[in-house]
């Protein structure tokens, strides 16, 4: 068994990882599909408030990509259509019926074209992501390969093999479908760990990765397995979505099942919940006990996804697509007296400018628990020009120069961005740089802007 060891990177050990305990959520309350979860989607609404829908009924579609049809996860009534600035569509909210009914999709197709058609009709197609740019692929797209990561290395990691328990056959069926449609499928697992049935999955090339975050990100894995060249595309699919694809082809019903972990330092009972994509986060937090916040903390933030690249959601918001966990951390909106001077054992820093920095290795390996770091959403400093050099290089296990790439994105030089490897990254691949950056620059937004500039230039 070959294991690729990733050396560069950083594991940020936030207390409050989810325990392997699952609660099944009843499908009540509201569910939402949000165009803002996707890159470059221009939504055209297909339903109105009050319309009855089934699980699998299209709610809106993408004007620029006929293959992207976004379907309802539940049957019920369209309760609200949320709009933001300039009437931009933010979310379509569906209130679930007590009894669930689904659209019956055609699943007898045995050819790749037939499978594509079913995936597009049922909304499964929107689960695919195409790199570069992180967009939903066109109907006739032919990727070089499909990459699936069943290894979460981000802070507050979830156990993906555990989350797929009971969905073994659906997962295998999903892999088979992707294999038929797209050819090569690469499945990356965590090395040195029991991955259960995932080790024996057919029709996929199995790879093992080991090391600190971002070893579990598809961006890191693609770079080691088969890097993206100019003009090439690959697809990535979330591991749970693979099972959703398989499930539709065996039952004919669209049922975007999701295991979601509620975790973080303020959660008293960190655990997993089984629900559907787009579920109301309020339904989940009702089940949660929260630890008392101590001074100066007064509030917390819900993040759909991990704390390094996820999306902040309101306390009555909805899970984003692709979300495996809701990370809950305290807001850091407090003043810190002489914060730049005090030695401070509780603050976490990748640099060794805090005394805690000298002990963190030991704390990480579990040998020593003397220092439990506190994490919050505070920026811990003011914005400055990109100043310090050399820190990004220790965090990015890709063959790119992060600082130079970021600067190329800032000046918007397309040729330079291409040459420096923009096609090999998504913003999340540089999320650790954003975390560690002394100058507090919003690096992921800069990378996204760079990618969007190229995408518009190419007319995709």
């Amino acid at each position: 068994m070959n294991t690729t060891i990733i050396k560069k990177g950083l594991d940020i050990c936030i207390p409050g990882t989810a325990e392997r305990r699952v609660s099944d959520m009843r499908l009540t309350g509201c569910f939402a599909v949000k165009p803002t979860d996707y890159v470059g989607v221009k939504p055209r609404l297909l339903v109105a408030e009050g319309d009855p829908v089934l699980a699998g009924t299209p709610l809106f579609e993408d004007k620029s990509n006929a293959a992207a049809r976004f379907t309802s996860p539940v049957s019920g009534t369209v309760k609200a259509i949320a709009r933001g600035d300039k009437r931009a569509l933010l979310a379509v909210v569906v209130e679930a019926d007590s009894e669930q009914k689904s659209v019956q999709f055609q699943t007898s197709a045995s050819t790749a074209d037939g499978m594509r058609k079913t995936m597009i009709e049922s909304g499964l197609w929107t689960l695919l992501r195409q790199r570069p740019f992180g967009i939903i692929p066109q109907a006739d797209a032919n990727p070089k390969a499909v990459f699936i990561s069943a290894f979460d290395s981000s802070p507050l990691p979830v156990d993906i093999p555990f989350m797929l328990n009971g969905r073994e056959q659906d997962f295998q069926a999903g892999i088979d479908i992707l294999h038929t449609i797209a050819g090569t499928v690469h499945l990356s697992l965590q090395g040195g760990k029991d991955n259960g049935f995932l080790e024996k999955v057919q029709n996929a090339e199995i790879h093992h990765f080991q090391g600190p975050h971002p070893a579990g990100l598809t961006g890191t894995q693609i770079a080691r397995i088969d890097p993206i060249n100019k003009g090439e595309t690959v697809w990535t699919v979330n591991a749970q979505d693979v099972a959703t694809i398989g499930q539709l082809f065996s039952t004919g019903h669209y049922c975007p099942q999701r295991m979601v972990a509620l975790c973080g330092p303020v959660v008293g009972n960190s655990q997993y919940y089984r629900t559907l994509s787009g579920a109301s986060v309020e339904e989940l937090t009702k089940q949660t006990t929260f630890n008392e916040l101590s001074e100066p903390l007064s509030d917390f933030r819900l993040i759909s996804g991990n704390v390094l690249s996820g999306t902040a959601i309101a306390k009555d918001g909805f899970l984003s697509t692709e979300c495996d966990k809701v990370s809950i951390i305290p807001e850091g909106n407090y003043y810190d007296f002489m914060g730049w001077l005090r030695p401070n054992f509780r603050k976490f820093s990748f640099s060794r400018t805090f005394l805690s920095g000298f002990f963190k290795r030991k704390a990480e390996s579990g040998k020593r628990k003397a220092f439990e770091f506190t994490f919050d959403t505070g920026k811990h400093g003011s914005d400055r020009p990109l100043f310090v050099t050399g820190e990004f290089e220790k965090l990015v296990p890709l063959d790119i120069y992060p600082m130079q790439l970021i600067k190329a994105c800032i000046i918007g030089d397309i040729e330079l961005m291409e040459n420096l490897g923009i096609y090999e990254v998504e913003p999340e691949d540089l999320s650790l740089c954003e975390f560690a950056d002394t100058s507090k620059t919003e690096i992921q937004a800069i990378i996204r802007n760079g990618l969007e500039k190229i995408r518009k230039e190419l007319g995709l």
Binding site: K230, T311, F337, K379
Partner: protein, 393 residues
């Protein structure tokens, strides 16, 4: 907290449409000096932000204060040495504390002038640009005062600092955008504008207060070698730093203490420090092998001990803004600084010290070095693209 309440009460006056709106940058500088700001990722508490929600505890203030702490051993030693040199030269019977106190009194005006002029300009530019005041000069201002002769006329120093901050930094956009090390720009300004006050034998020893007679001369080791005189100081003296020289750069021991802190905290690049020493050492060895004159025969490691080599290597070559930014580039950049510094010392008849000019020269070439290093990465990538294209074709 009382202090926090005071700031909160004052804040509306300094924000937009407040009475003192024009001084908002100044207020922000003092407020963020006292308290790390309460800003959160995404700008506001609540939903919508996508990105990294947690941030590292380090910020630029923390980075700069670490550099300042690293400078303290050299600063304290330098103060004592000012008194020590004066006591020796004028045959005064001063104890340790007296020497330190004399040096402190001599250093204080230099530091004050450097900070007042430099920070004054920084604050002014920040207000005009409606930006926050950058903390970069907290380090630069101290470094400037540590690399000038103790007898420097304060008006010259003020001019030099103003020149360095305006021409060396602000015209390019402020801290983080400059391509020359501002502290060295100040020193170079003094060096070329007022050479008689910056070199020679009479500038390195401070006269005692209320002293009426002629100033006593005290030659630096570099000055002695330049003049073809035998070295008076032993290697140990130079290592410890009990020799005449710029205010705070004579003691290699004290500088090494600072270097230890910078390396332990990871603030300064070990690649640059090591490669400067390697470059200087190899060039020194080369001259030893040629041995055409007395200066070439000076043992190669003497170069590490004399003049500003150690100080420049630890505190100025490693300035991240003006150094090479790529890891490979840092090796080349540092090596060439070391090599050029020794080359200039030995072969250039005009200036006794080569470190300042070597660093400034390599500051200019650092972007070119990086460009070449990055070009190799680009070439590798384009080659991969070409191979992939052939494979599919």
């Amino acid at each position: 907290m009382i202090l926090r309440d005071i700031f909160d009460k004052m804040k509306p006056n300094f924000s937009k449409d407040g009475r003192f709106e024009k001084l908002s940058s100044t207020f922000e500088a003092f407020e963020s000096f006292a308290f790390t700001p309460n800003t959160v990722t995404g700008g506001k508490v609540g939903g919508g932000y996508k990105g990294s929600h947690i941030r590292d505890a380090v910020d630029l203030k923390r980075t700069i204060i670490t550099v300042v702490i690293a400078l303290l051993p050299a600063l304290l030693f330098g103060m004592w040495n000012i008194g020590h040199q004066t006591a020796i030269s004028y045959s005064l019977d001063w104890g340790f504390w007296h020497q330190l106190w004399f040096g402190f009194l001599r250093m204080l005006p230099i530091i004050i002038v450097s900070y007042v002029v430099g920070l004054g300009i920084e604050f002014l530019f920040a207000e005009i640009r409606h930006e926050e005041v950058s903390e970069g000069f907290i380090g630069t201002g101290l470094i400037i005062s540590m690399i000038v002769p103790v007898t420097v006329p304060l008006w010259q120093l003020a001019l030099a600092v103003a020149f360095a901050v305006v021409i060396g930094k602000e015209v390019f956009g402020g801290s983080g955008y400059n391509f020359l090390n501002p502290a060295l720009v100040a020193r170079a300004f003094l060096f070329f504008s007022y050479p008689s006050h910056m070199s020679g034998d009479s500038v390195w020893v401070a006269t005692p207060f209320h002293f009426a007679g002629d100033a006593v001369t005290g030659a630096t080791p570099l000055g002695q070698l330049m003049a073809g005189q035998p070295l008076q100081a032993s290697a140990l003296d130079m290592f410890i730093g009990t020799i005449p020289g710029s205010t705070c750069e004579t003691s290699v021991v004290a500088i090494l203490l600072g270097a230890l802190l910078l390396l332990a905290t990871g603030i300064a690049s070990w690649r640059i420090m090591l490669s400067v020493v390697l470059g200087g050492g190899l060039m020194g060895l080369l001259f030893n092998a040629i041995g055409a004159n007395e200066y070439m025969q000076v043992p190669f490691y003497y170069h590490f001990l004399m003049g500003g080599f150690a100080f420049g290597c630890v505190f100025m070559a490693t300035d991240p803004v003006t150094a090479a930014q790529t890891n490979c580039g840092k090796w080349i950049y540092g090596f060439l600084i070391g090599a050029f510094a020794v080359l200039l010392r030995v072969l250039n008849p005009a200036y006794p010290e080569g470190m300042m000019l070597a660093i400034l020269l390599m500051n200019c070439f650092a972007p070119l070095i990086d460009h070449c290093v990055v070009a190799r990465n680009i070439k590798r990538r384009q080659k991969r693209w070409a191979t992939a294209e052939r494979r599919t074709a």
